[in-house]
């Protein structure tokens, strides 16, 4: 999966799941879009679907401090690389 593909999938998830359309890639999601811990947990489930495998508890904890779409893409890339 390329970075561009990850980005477009993540933006699609944000639109469908969190009612957030076209967020800036460096927007602070918490401050600007009310993206909270509950959303983060739901996003992790969707990332698991994207990766086709479960995330460990430590990997999930690592994700809870993510603040921007760029960080999410970095995170998905890292998790995908770990699994390949």
């Amino acid at each position: 999966m390329t970075r561009g593909e990850i980005q477009s999938r993540i933006l699609e998830i944000f639109k469908e799941e969190f009612e957030i359309e076209n967020p800036g890639l460096d927007d602070d999601l918490r401050d600007k879009h009310e993206f909270d811990s509950i959303d983060a947990l739901d996003l992790l489930s969707r990332i698991e679907d994207l990766l086709g495998s479960s995330l460990t508890q430590d990997e999930k904890k690592q994700a809870m401090n993510i603040r921007t779409i760029h960080h999410i893409i970095d995170y998905v890339e890292l998790m995908a690389a770990k699994r390949s």
């Binding site: 009612e19 009310e34 909270d36 509950i38 983060a40 947990l41 739901d42 999930k60």
Partner: protein
């Protein structure tokens, strides 16, 4: 309130406040800590046991308050008492609101500011009773994940989660902006949302005051304003619309 003459009210406020806080702490130190310790050591389900003890503790507390505060009455809608398996959203006027709701629901959870989880003993009670931290921040990430994962099952088995979506107490009685957390949880767990209104707790224990306001005619009311049970899986369901609907129901009730 003619039972208390106006010149005696300041003295009554101080004396009754001292009695209430004395009862609050002494009943814990002399009685309830034994229950908590017993439940922790011997209960097969600590979470439910701690919720039940909290419920009894605050029920006893409000019975005591009602008995000693002249002019105070409670009017609790009977529909409120029968709520089960729901996410309850409510306006927030006073520090008394969360403990009043605990006194009404034996099986309950709520969302608590992170800082309280760090308070000795109190934090331990909050954790053991299964309450949720407000934010999955450093130190509480695992707890938040564990709580969220268990919430659907908890709600399905007659438990209630109550939340004050304004996030803070109203200083003038008006309804503030709602956060979306409670509504997201309801959607995540496929649970109905019950909208409650609380009135007059701020008259009994005003924000920014240490003293209870006694010797006035005051009826604390808790009413069920409405139920929202949308088809959360439907494509057209918007969390922000559900949130605004709940806010509108509550606002209409408070201003009518």
């Amino acid at each position: 309130m003619r039972a208390c003459f106006s010149h005696m009210k300041p003295v009554a406020d101080v004396i009754i406040t001292l009695m209430i806080w004395t009862y609050y702490f002494l009943s814990y130190l002399l009685l309830f800590w034994v229950w908590y310790a017993g439940a922790f050591l011997f209960s097969s389900n600590r979470e439910t046991a701690f919720q039940r003890i909290n419920h009894c503790y605050y029920r006893a507390f409000f019975s005591f308050v009602r008995a000693i505060v002249p002019g105070l009455a409670f009017n609790i809608d009977k529909d409120v008492l029968s709520i089960r398996s729901s996410v309850i959203v409510c306006n927030h006027l006073s520090y008394l609101d969360p403990i009043l709701l605990i006194s009404l629901f034996e099986r309950h959870k709520t969302i608590v500011k992170n800082v309280f989880f760090k308070v000795p003993i109190f934090g331990w009670i909050l954790r053991t009773a299964g309450y949720l931290p407000a934010i999955a921040s450093e130190g509480l990430v695992s707890l938040m994940m564990e709580r969220m994962n268990g919430l659907r099952g908890y709600l399905a088995s007659d438990g209630n989660l109550f939340v004050f979506p304004e996030g803070t107490r109203s200083r003038d009685g008006s309804l503030g902006r709602f956060n979306e957390g409670a509504f997201k949880i309801a959607k995540r767990c496929d649970a109905p949302i019950q909208v409650l209104s609380i009135k007059n707790t701020d008259r009994l224990f005003p924000p920014d005051s240490f003293l209870f306001n006694t010797c006035i005619d005051n009826t604390i009311e808790v009413k069920l304003i409405g139920t929202i049970g949308p088809d959360y899986q439907g494509k057209d369901v918007s969390i922000s619309e559900v949130k605004e609907k709940a806010r509108s129901l509550l606002n209409n009730s408070l201003t009518s």
